[in-house]
């Protein structure tokens, strides 16, 4: 900015109409209109004790701990600072004897019925109640009556336990459940001194977000099974990192004790997760600690795996690759995966591919969208959550990007945004949507057009900013329908921005890094044609993830040489020639790129499991053995090389990342033309139901399956029909039925679900039990099935 042409007067910023000046303990403090006193005091360093106040939830002013004195017309008044707005000229005191007496008094009352079982309480050591009793308390309780008694911890869900004796009734967990998660399954019950938080009898707090209540509980009343009794807070060491379970990019702390991961906690990142996490992200550290982790390289000999040293295994892998190249050239080598690692991992593997001339490379498993989606003007999560209109085109965010679901739900509940949904099935956001249109698989284009023709919708869309959230809503349908619908909407609303929601943690980073020069389906078809001599999977399990099971099975069987880099044995690598153990989340440094293109840092907290190595290092070493030198001796060098050579990553220098822990947005991709073909859905040809196949939060993925607390939450495989369709079929809820496609048929359980459209059948993907992928033909625009009772 240049100042040479401005006069001093012009230099003074215009008076901000929302700026407020108040005095706290004699010092002047700047604040904004509408802010609570407690927030202003937090900034000025005048800490006011509190329990019920949480900056991300509505204030209720009920614990009364945050009392302060505000000068009024009739002398100082005692008010709660968490619910009293700042005002110009306001005089606040947080340190008078009266305030101190009030703080002590409230604290003594809170402790009156508290069991004071701190030595056996998980929260002991990081407990606001304990801390405040220490710093603001009377030191001794004069309460000599009998305390309230309740049955000691009762499970309120599969993961969370509640100790009502410790509870101080701050309403944080219950407000969270209702206000933030929209799952009002825990509630205050009874009244007065008998008030207690409870679920409805036999209706557990089964919320995807339940773990947040444990994090925000100001005492040890709520505990989570995965962490209970595992450590004392003062033994925990923590670093800040980013969750890569999905692509929202929630900031977390990774906490460990004695080199063991014990807990992730949400960090309040203003543009992203506001401190919230989903339970899958929060608790899947269990998988990192799983006994099933691969700790040493495996090499097949005589049809069975044998442990091998790294040098043996890497040499074997190099031999496999050079044999393949010798047989069919670099174009007969394929690399699939890379979306679950760091940007540096992806970039190293992309560099490996480029150096060797390998171009059958894809980080998506046929379950995403073409990378042309990045060619549209991109929106951030914050922009979406502040847009006048959010058009939802694709997956159920609650199942796939849960914290983005929370942000959009909040936008709708706070009346900032109106949600316009186009989906093959009702989603978690349907009940918050201003308009929700269910379309038949393959007909989103028609649905989008008639929606935009609706004058009410048209008026809404022209009323302000528009963000289109787009992803893959149905794995049994060609992604081109969604891309076409997106193209049409963009043509009608050229000012709209796009937030792509591909779900895998670092899929966007992998694509930008260059790991998507082909399409997995084409790679698999090439394999079936005998044109793939060697496949390297990098943290990928195509057999589990690729929608068309028949295609992927035949392809895998046709590939003579297979190398896998992974943290676990999977369906795809159990017959590989070489399996190289990879470092997992929490065991390596690097960066990741979220769905919105935000690059943030990942941090290593514990030493790697066994001899596992980070993916990037394996790429560099393998390249070396193949006679190619990648100039990347450390993760920093990989990062710098990436920043220097990839335009999207140009802004994310290490320096820039250090400056902003909330991360740095990637640069806009060069115009990528969306050239996907326009298709029309095939005829039903006697099949009664169009298939909708999509993900549930808890599935058979390694992260869930290897986390003992989460694995039981996966619902398992079932076919869901609208209740009226179920009636028409003459089947009862829960019966086994035969599901017939034109290739084969499978027998599975049928369940009634009013959120499924009539004439469609919904099946969750990658669940244990019968595999719906058997009935999906990736070559068809849409897939249909018939259902018969047994």
């Amino acid at each position: 900015m240049s100042t040479t042409e401005t006069t001093p007067e012009e230099n003074v910023p215009p008076a901000d109409p929302n700026a407020v000046r108040l005095t706290i303990n004699g010092r002047e403090v700047e604040a904004r209109k509408g802010e609570w006193i407690i927030a202003a005091a937090d900034r000025s360093g005048d800490y006011i004790p509190r329990f019920c106040y949480h900056p991300r939830m509505e204030s209720v002013g009920m614990c009364r701990q945050c009392l302060v004195e505000v000068e009024g017309p009739r002398g100082p008044m005692m008010v709660v600072s968490c619910m009293t707005p700042v005002a110009d000229g306001q005089i606040v005191r947080t340190d008078t004897p009266q305030v101190k007496r009030a703080h002590e008094g409230i604290l003594e009352l809170l402790l009156a019925n508290h069991p004071l079982d701190c030595p056996v309480c998980d929260k002991g050591g990081e407990c606001p109640l304990q801390d405040q009793a220490f710093s603001h308390g009377p030191g001794e309780s004069r309460f000599i009556e009998e305390k309230r008694h309740y049955e000691k911890p009762i499970p309120i869900s599969d993961i969370v336990l509640l100790d009502r004796e410790r509870c101080i009734l701050c309403d944080r967990c219950t407000r969270f459940a209702d206000e933030v998660a929209g799952d009002a399954l825990i509630h205050f019950t009874s009244r007065g001194n008998n008030t207690q938080v409870l679920t409805f009898p036999d209706e557990p707090f089964s919320s995807y977000f339940s773990g947040n209540t444990v994090q925000i509980c100001p005492v040890g009343a709520l505990t989570a099974k995965p962490y209970r009794f595992k450590a004392r807070p003062w033994d925990l060491e923590k670093v800040e990192s980013t969750c890569t379970t999905c692509s929202v990019g929630c900031r977390i702390t990774v906490e460990s004790s004695r080199d063991q991961l014990l807990r992730y906690q949400g960090v309040d990142s203003e543009p992203v997760n506001w401190s919230w996490l989903c339970d899958k992200g929060r608790f899947n550290f269990e998988a990192v600690e799983s006994d099933d982790r691969l700790g040493e390289p495996l090499v097949t000999s005589d049809g069975a795996f044998a442990s091998a040293s790294w040098s043996v295994a890497l040499r074997r892998a190099a031999t496999l690759v050079s044999e393949a190249i010798a047989e069919g050239g670099a174009s007969s080598v394929a690399i699939l995966g890379g979306a679950r690692g760091t940007n540096e991992d992806a970039f190293a593997w992309a560099s490996f591919a480029k150096a060797l001339g390998i171009d059958l490379v894809d980080a998506q498993m046929g379950d995403g969208l073409p990378s042309s989606v990045f060619g549209y003007p991109q929106a951030t999560i914050d922009e979406a959550a502040h847009a006048k209109t959010v058009i939802l085109l694709g997956p159920d965010l609650k199942e796939e990007l849960p914290v983005l679901h929370l942000r959009l739900r909040d936008a709708s509940e706070k009346k900032r945004s109106r949600l316009v949904e186009l989906s093959p099935k009702e989603t978690g956001l349907t009940r918050y949507a201003w308009s929700s249109t269910l379309h038949e698989p393959g007909l989103q284009v028609t649905a989008a057009e008639s929606l935009l023709d609706d004058p009410k919708v048209a008026a809404q869309i022209t009323s302000g900013s528009v963000v289109i959230v787009v992803g893959r809503g149905n794995l049994a349908e060609s992604p081109e329908f969604t891309m076409e619908a997106l193209r049409r909407i963009m043509a009608r609303v050229p000012s709209a921005k796009v937030l792509p929601v591909l779900r895998r943690g670092n899929v966007r980073g992998a694509i930008h890094a260059g790991l998507s020069t082909a399409d997995t389906a084409d790679v698999l078809r090439a394999a079936i044609d005998g044109r793939v001599n060697c496949l390297i999977t990098v943290g990928a399990d195509p057999i589990a993830d690729f929608p068309d099971s028949d295609l992927v099975r035949r392809a895998m069987a046709a590939i003579p040489r297979r190398i896998s880099v992974d943290t676990f044995l999977t369906a795809s690598n159990q017959n590989a020639d070489v399996v190289l153990p990879a470092a997992a989340f929490g065991e390596k440094d690097g960066t990741t790129t979220s769905a919105e293109g935000r690059v943030t840092q990942l941090a290593r907290k514990i030493t790697v499991h066994g001899t596992a190595r980070p993916d990037w290092m394996i790429a560099v070493e393998l390249a070396d053995l193949l006679g190619v030198e990648l100039p990347m001796g450390s993760v920093h060098e990989v990062h710098d090389a990436m920043v220097n050579s990839i335009r999207e990553f140009a802004p994310v220098s290490r320096e820039a990342l250090r400056r902003d822990p909330d991360g740095v947005l990637v640069a806009k991709s060069s115009e990528i033309r969306d050239e996907s073909a326009t298709r029309t859905p095939n005829d039903r040809a006697g099949f009664a139901y169009r298939l909708v196949v999509s993900r549930k939060l808890y599935d058979n993925g390694r992260n869930v399956e290897k986390s003992p607390s989460l694995a039981p939450l996966a619902p398992g495989s079932s076919l869901y029909l609208h209740p009226l369709d179920l009636d028409r079929l003459g089947a009862v809820d829960g019966a086994q039925v035969k599901v017939i496609g034109d290739r084969t048929s499978i027998v599975m359980k049928v369940q009634s679900d009013p959120s499924v459209q009539r004439g469609t059948a919904w099946v969750p993907f990658n669940q244990s039990g019968p595999d719906i992928g058997e009935l999906i033909d990736a070559g068809r625009p849409v897939n249909d099935v018939r259902v018969e009772t047994l």
Partner: protein, 466 residues
């Protein structure tokens, strides 16, 4: 014993010759029917109102200075004017949750003259431009609910309520709502929570002043049953006739229930501002003195929440500006009288137990402090308290209400009065109300507590510090 249908034991309205504004029909057995109501000038006030612009009616109510009868005594017309300009819809919520200890008037008004209340609601909705009226009746009042429901059904059928009232452009629904047993719901923001289908937990004011952010977040007027019951008379006779009764700051009449150790407990419609406690307790037109000629020991002047008075305050009139400085409040028009046989700590305990039991549980001081007070006091009453407990009562009280707590003067004890109101660490008055009776009893009758407690034996500490 008498059943509810009989009023033989509530003789207040029949004694003496005083102006009757809200109890004028109580002498008829069929006072609750539309027929009787119409025969005694019913719905005439509404007709008068509808023939004038709404703003004029609002103005008339304002100039009549109808003090709220729910406890706070805020003038109704002024309250209606506090709604933010141009924000609609606005609602009327009628507070018929009467449950303050000692209070007995709204139930009578609903059971004995439901049409008068309905007419009052209609006038208020018309004058203040309200879109719907919710008439919230306490859950335990089965007969009041039946009478008001029947009256509403009659009034709807006869064209007094609903679409085009009396053939005019004024249309309004009155929805009968009923509670389920929770004293705190009488507090206006809790009433709104309850009406929204929630737990009746009060909201913090500000920001949740009902007039600004009330039912469904909309501007809402909450008025007491008796407050509204005055409006038909005012419409018919004019604001001037109303202010001609009583004093300028406390005009009109008000209903007062006098209970406890008097000869003739009852509900009386008294002239506001001038009638004194002595008139009420000892006057022949009222209670006629103490039972069995006993001596008056103390009385609660304004419902269970009010600090207590002793015979020294008998000559104070029903005038808020005099009661406040004397250390108490008029509240809901409920006087509970104690004679010299009364066990003061036990009497205080029944009140403290009430408020502790009725705490909604939201504020720490009320939820924890109320029960704590109750536990200490019942130990004392049971003879298991110590002298340290007496101090502890004040300490817990200090955590609920910081600073000096109001109390009456006592020449006997050489005490000057501490004026009402108090400061409080809670959202609503339930928490402080658990402390008020203890504070009064302990301040004015400390000897009765001291004779109940054992002096703490101090066991000498030996050996640790020389």
């Amino acid at each position: 014993m008498s059943a509810q249908g009989s009023y033989a034991h509530a003789p207040g309205f029949f004694v003496g010759d005083r102006p009757k504004i809200v109890t004028s029909r109580f002498e008829y057995d069929d006072s609750h029917t539309l027929e009787r109501y119409l025969a005694t000038g019913g719905y005439e006030g509404l007709r008068v109102a509808l023939t004038r612009p709404a703003a004029d009616i609002h103005e008339a109510v304002k100039s009549a200075t109808v003090l709220g009868r729910g406890g706070a005594g805020f003038p109704a017309g002024t309250k209606w004017g506090l709604t933010p300009q141009g924000v609609f819809p606005r609602y009327l919520v009628v507070n018929g949750d009467e449950s303050e200890p000692g209070t007995y008037k709204d139930r009578l008004l609903m059971e004995r003259d439901p049409h008068q209340l309905i007419e009052g609601c209609l006038i208020a909705c018309y004058a203040a431009g309200l879109s719907q009226c919710f008439l919230y009746i306490r859950g335990e009042m089965a007969v009041a609910q039946e009478r008001v429901a029947a009256a509403l059904n009659e009034a709807y059928a006869a064209g007094y309520v609903g679409r085009n009232v009396l053939g005019s452009r004024f249309s309004i629904d009155i929805t009968l709502h009923w509670g389920a047993g929770a004293y705190v719901v009488g507090e206006e923001t809790a009433l709104i929570e309850s009406l929204e289908g929630n737990r009746g937990m009060p909201r913090l004011k500000p920001p949740y002043f009902p007039a600004a952010i009330g039912l469904y977040g909309q501007p809402t007027i909450v008025n007491n049953v008796e407050t509204l019951a005055n409006l038909p008379w005012i419409m018919q006779h004019g604001a001037d006739a109303y202010t001609a009764i009583g004093t300028p700051t406390s005009p009109g009449t008000r209903m007062v229930a006098v209970s406890g150790h008097v000869k003739r407990p009852g509900v009386y419609e008294i002239v506001n501002g001038t009638t004194t406690f002595r008139d009420l307790i000892f006057g022949e037109d009222f209670c006629g003195g103490m039972r069995d000629g006993n001596e008056l020991k103390a009385f609660v002047p304004g419902g269970g929440s009010a600090p207590w008075f002793t015979p020294e305050q008998l000559d104070l009139p029903f005038e808020a500006s005099q009661i406040g400085p004397a250390g108490s409040m008029l509240g809901s028009g409920a006087i509970m009288v104690m004679d010299h046989t009364t066990d003061i700590p036990r009497a205080a305990l029944t009140l403290t137990r009430f408020y502790a039991h009725e705490s909604c549980g939201k504020c720490t001081p009320c939820r924890e402090g109320g029960t704590w007070l109750e536990r200490i006091l019942s130990r004392i009453v049971d003879g298991k308290g110590t002298d340290a407990d007496l101090d502890q009562l004040f300490e817990v009280g200090e955590s609920i209400c910081p600073g000096a707590f109001p109390h009456a003067s006592s020449s006997k004890l050489g005490l000057a009065a501490t004026p009402f109101p108090y400061r409080m660490n809670t959202i609503c008055f339930v928490g402080p109300s658990a402390y008020a009776p203890i504070h009064s009893a302990l301040t004015l009758f400390r000897d009765e507590f001291e004779s109940r407690v054992t002096k703490r034996q101090r066991i000498p500490v030996t050996g640790v510090v020389s």
